[in-house]
């Protein structure tokens, strides 16, 4: 049974969490448990509205991208995903990469959102962690054992925005960095080619 063993645990249901990821940030306010919970509930409602809107999948991707841009620190995520190559990239290359990446990630995670229908995520705790906040939530999806979902939120950008999601220990940024790194390597380090392919993916 090839690779079945890990499928069941960590990342089965995993990337769905992206849906809830859009939850966090929003307007600047103290990150106490109650306000974080309220924000998440509000954003989950927003995402559910999109999912249940009956729009075409491609129209939904646009909606998801808008939500992602609003609640996540897209430029920090893109820079981290690109890894060392971000340091040698020019400002205009970074801008083009960030734009391509945000569309790519909205489509990639957006394809999973239908698994999220009927699900519910609740915040159970929030605490400072190093230089940022970790909000701990539990995701209840239909027919699934509840799973652990954590959001890393920072205000370093000037606003509260989330920059990472940890799903049962699996780190979205680390996974993205591995993937984007492999994509870049396949294209012999050609960032332009990568940007083109991200736009097409």
């Amino acid at each position: 049974m090839a690779n079945l063993d890990f499928t069941r645990r960590g990342f089965g249901a995993a990337l769905i969490a992206g849906a809830a990821g859009v939850a966090l940030a929003g307007p600047a306010m103290a990150l106490d448990l109650a306000s974080a919970r309220a924000l998440i509930n509000k954003a989950i409602g927003e995402v559910n509205t999109v999912i249940n809107s009956g729009k075409s999948e491609s129209a939904m991707f646009g909606d998801f991208e808008r939500i992602f841009v609003r609640y996540a620190d897209v430029s920090a995520i893109a820079r981290s995903a690109l890894g060392p190559a971000a340091r040698s990239a020019s400002a205009s290359e970074m801008a083009a990469f960030t734009k391509a990446y945000q569309g790519y990630i909205s489509r990639k995670y957006g394809r999973r959102f239908r698994e999220f229908i009927g699900g519910k995520i609740e915040v159970v705790d929030a605490k400072p962690l190093k230089s940022y906040f970790e909000v701990i939530s539990v995701a209840h999806l239909q027919g699934e054992a509840p799973f652990d979902l954590r959001w890393h939120v920072s205000n370093k950008s000037g606003r509260d925005l989330f920059f990472n999601i940890i799903i049962e220990g699996v780190n979205m940024l680390a996974s993205e960095r591995e993937e984007i790194g492999a994509m870049l390597k396949k294209r012999n380090g050609n960032l332009k080619a990568l940007i083109g392919d991200l736009n097409a993916a």
Partner: protein
């Protein structure tokens, strides 16, 4: 099924002895606490692992994935759920045994109580009345037992058919496989039924998480590296090695300090 098969398990003496012999050997070798996992994957057998990964991909593409699709298509969801319930019920004696070896009475009692409820009221594990009354499965394995005994994970390995693992967890899988109390106690034909339920349950999982699994295995630029990362991070999480308050582990990236 003539005998009340899930309840009638008993470790044959010889295997029990082999088991405790192994336990003593491992305990003798191991330190008190498992060393923390490395931040980057320790993968000295990467080229061999990659060959096995290619084999596993071919196996999945040609056999497992189509079989899982067929299984999901042919059997209605309640039947698949029942199969999955039976298979996980059969794992409970092993969860209890590992809980005991880990010195974790809560794990023994919870899984034992669950086994009792689901094997009786739940009709040989077909239904799961235990979860709604607050007795979910507390899954564990012999790899975790070794971890509790202080054995470090060792190199990353990808096993043929079983997929991502570590040296320690591969040993754990082999021990769980050979000494699972349910399999050891059952005779043919019940043991064959039990194996059938387990394989069917795995196919059900492959089908159920198909979108996610397919995207990792077939849409990743480097599916080997993705599978390795997902397995190791999730495994560290399961074993409580994410060190949520400590300063490291593989879970903490601060993009603002890079």
């Amino acid at each position: 099924m003539a005998r009340s098969f899930p309840l009638n398990f008993r470790l044959p003496v010889k295997k029990t002895l082999a088991f405790s012999g192994l336990a003593v050997a491992v305990l003798g070798l191991a330190a008190c606490a498992a060393p923390p996992p490395p931040a980057t994957p320790y993968d000295p057998f990467e080229s061999t692992n990659r060959s096995i990964h290619a084999f596993n991909l071919a196996l999945d593409r040609n056999l497992v994935r189509p079989a899982a699709k067929g299984y999901g298509f042919l059997l209605p969801a309640p039947v698949r759920q029942g199969v999955s319930n039976v298979a996980s019920n059969l794992d409970l004696p092993a969860d209890m045994a590992n809980g005991a070896l880990q010195g974790n009475p809560k794990r023994v009692v919870q899984n034992g109580f669950r086994f009792l409820i689901n094997s009786t009221i739940g009709v040989l594990g077909l239904f799961d009345p235990a979860t709604p009354i607050g007795v979910p499965q507390d899954k564990t394995d012999f790899g975790e037992t070794l971890h509790v005994w202080g054995v470090g994970e060792g190199p990353y390995v990808e096993l043929p058919a079983f997929g991502p693992s570590t040296m320690r967890d591969a040993v754990g899988t082999a021990v769980d496989f050979a000494l699972n109390p349910a399999s050891v106690a059952l005779q043919p034909p019940e043991s064959t039924y039990a194996t059938g339920f387990k394989i069917a349950s795995k196919l059900g999982d492959r089908d159920r998480y198909s979108a996610t699994v397919d995207s990792v295995l077939y849409d990743s630029a480097d599916s080997y590296a993705q599978a390795r990362l997902l397995y190791l991070q999730n495994r560290h999480f399961e074993l409580g090695q994410t060190a949520e308050s400590a300063s490291g582990g593989d879970d903490f990236i601060d993009p603002y300090e890079e």
